[in-house]
Symmetry: C2
Subunit: 184 residues, 2 copies
């Protein structure tokens, strides 16, 4: 079965500070044209930073798109040309004032491939040490430590409702199960 679409033309609608919007006209596999609305995003990283006591370093911050304070894993956008690992180290330090002795790339995925090209790199960070928080001037963030077990429960209770954070928690829990043979 043919699935691929062919780009016929591409029209920029908006060029913003963080995202751009364009509309592509495509040819469908059956030869018909269709329009696709696409949000361009620079890509981002999420850091699941775990203390020696299986606590996640988490952040609370206000998110204007949903007009709520959300509890999330530390994360941030890639600067132009920035390596994901360097971004992960930078964002963890800037947002939480922690640095990690060890980073592992857990997964690399598209957040919303139906309408956006945003790619997300999820890192696991361990061997943590405290250093100094240095927020951007438009960032207001509260840092807290949440035991992994409790974080997992907070998905069920709705206290955690952010996709990248849910992936980070479920992956950390799976790693814990494989390492210890027990549910956390």
């Amino acid at each position: 079965m043919r699935l691929a679409e062919m780009t016929l033309n591409s029209k920029q609608i908006y060029a913003g500070k963080i995202i751009n919007l364009r509309v592509d006209e495509v040819r469908l596999p059956n030869g018909q044209p269709a329009a696709r609305e696409i949000v361009e995003h620079p890509g981002a990283v999420t850091v699941a930073a775990l203390t020696d006591r299986e606590e996640l370093i988490m952040v609370r911050q206000f998110r204007q798109p949903v007009k709520k304070i959300l509890l999330e894993l530390p994360a941030g956008k890639l600067d132009p040309g920035e390596e994901p690992l360097v971004c992960a180290q930078r964002e963890l330090r800037e947002e939480t004032g922690m640095q990690a002795g060890r980073y592992e790339l857990v997964s690399r995925y598209y957040t919303t491939p139906g309408f956006s090209d945003e790619i997300m790199y999820l890192f696991r960070a361990t061997e943590l040490q405290e250093t100094e928080q240095s927020l951007d001037e438009d960032e207001f963030i509260e840092v807290l430590r949440v035991p992994l077990t409790e974080a997992r429960q907070m998905i069920n209770t709705g206290e955690i409702e952010d996709a990248k954070t849910i992936i980070g928690i479920l992956a950390a829990q799976e790693e814990f199960i494989k390492r210890t043979g027990n549910l956390p």
Copy 2:
């Protein structure tokens, strides 16, 4: 610590078929103004449909934003006023030709709360029966069954790289572990 931002004004940039774009001017907790670019989305559902043999019903489809064919769980946007459960039943049937005797809401989360208000409802569907596929005219989708174990591996190999699908697989795996006491 004060975290919330106050909306000062809101300007629509684009009203599209699936998404809208607006820019909000907000007042930060420190009193300074800032701009927030926001993609409005109608919300969506994902269905983790599992056969009696622990196989996931999956779909392959082309995604123009990333210009790739992706392997995903069945999913789709909410129609105006549509209940998430009704949407899940509709999308599973339309995209895969399956219907399920049992649906459970697994989680409800924001896909990308940094720049979008999209909310996602993840359902687990079991007691499957075959009925008839009925795709939208601009949908081209291949349906396949993937054993849960294999689907989990495909996250590591990069064959699965879609966030909602990763959440659905990790949640299905966790459910399997709790039910059976074993890793799948």
